[in-house]
Symmetry: C2
Subunit: 123 residues, 2 copies
DNA sequence: ATAATTGTATTAATTACTTAATACATTAAT
DNA sequence: ATTAATGTATTAAGTAATTAATACAATTAT
């Protein structure tokens, strides 16, 4: 796992996103046990509290849960994982559309523009 | 003009965005004179330095320029304004696509999803 | 029983950022 | 010449957020 961070955003946020991706993508399967806070922290070269914070936030979202002394686990609820992915995605889409509107583009404009950019990318 | 702010992001950022929108949308036309820093600040109920900062950032982007004692003006370059709008838009699109990828969606996925959301919105 | 491993809580240090206060400099207007 | 209006610079105050240090609690394994 390549733990990499930029200095733009808080480390705990980036940790959260990366771990979330590991779960959503299935690399950490539903029900599986995560490494301990300390192990994850040392692996990512980060203070344990920072990792703890990232994990706590993931926990709030229900993607993982902790059992006081036996460790942390990915939720068994595969449906929840899927829903989480979809709802975060939708949130990002709405934010995006809103920002574009604030720039003077209608939602319809934005659709077209995204299509264009993606086509350019492919080429 | 409705100067409204949330507490999520810095005020100067929000000022910048709102003024930028006024320019891009043509409400502050190319070449026109802006109110003074102090006037804008008092109108927005904001410290002059905060407004100054927003304007300075806009200046870095070339959308406005200042003449030491006569005031600030929107660039005469209408093409630049248009390009600015387009380049900021494109930046937002790329960021969006990147975030979606980090969530496990390909660019093609994202296009389809945006379309879906927009259709829902219209309905 | 003891030790080791786990998550958790509390507090402090650091850092960065935002906003504000104030003074300065330049030019246009009177 | 003087005043008023403009943008600018500098510094400080205030605030919030992030990270780190450390200690605690609970349970599992030995």
């Amino acid at each position: 796992m390549a733990w990499q961070f930029d200095n733009e955003r808080p480390i705990y946020t980036q940790l959260l996103e990366q771990i979330r991706f590991l779960i959503i993508s299935g690399l950490y399967p539903a029900g599986s046990k995560l490494p301990s806070v300390r192990d994850l922290a040392s692996e990512a070269s980060v203070n344990p509290n920072t990792m703890q914070r990232a994990l706590a936030e993931l926990e709030r979202s229900g993607l993982i849960y902790s059992q006081r002394t036996s460790g942390r686990f990915v939720t068994e609820d595969g449906v929840l994982i899927k829903q989480m992915k979809e709802s975060i995605g939708k949130e990002k889409i709405l934010t995006f559309l809103h920002e574009m509107e604030q720039l003077g583009y209608t939602a319809a404009d934005s659709v077209v523009l995204v299509e264009k950019v993606v086509e350019e990318e492919i080429r």
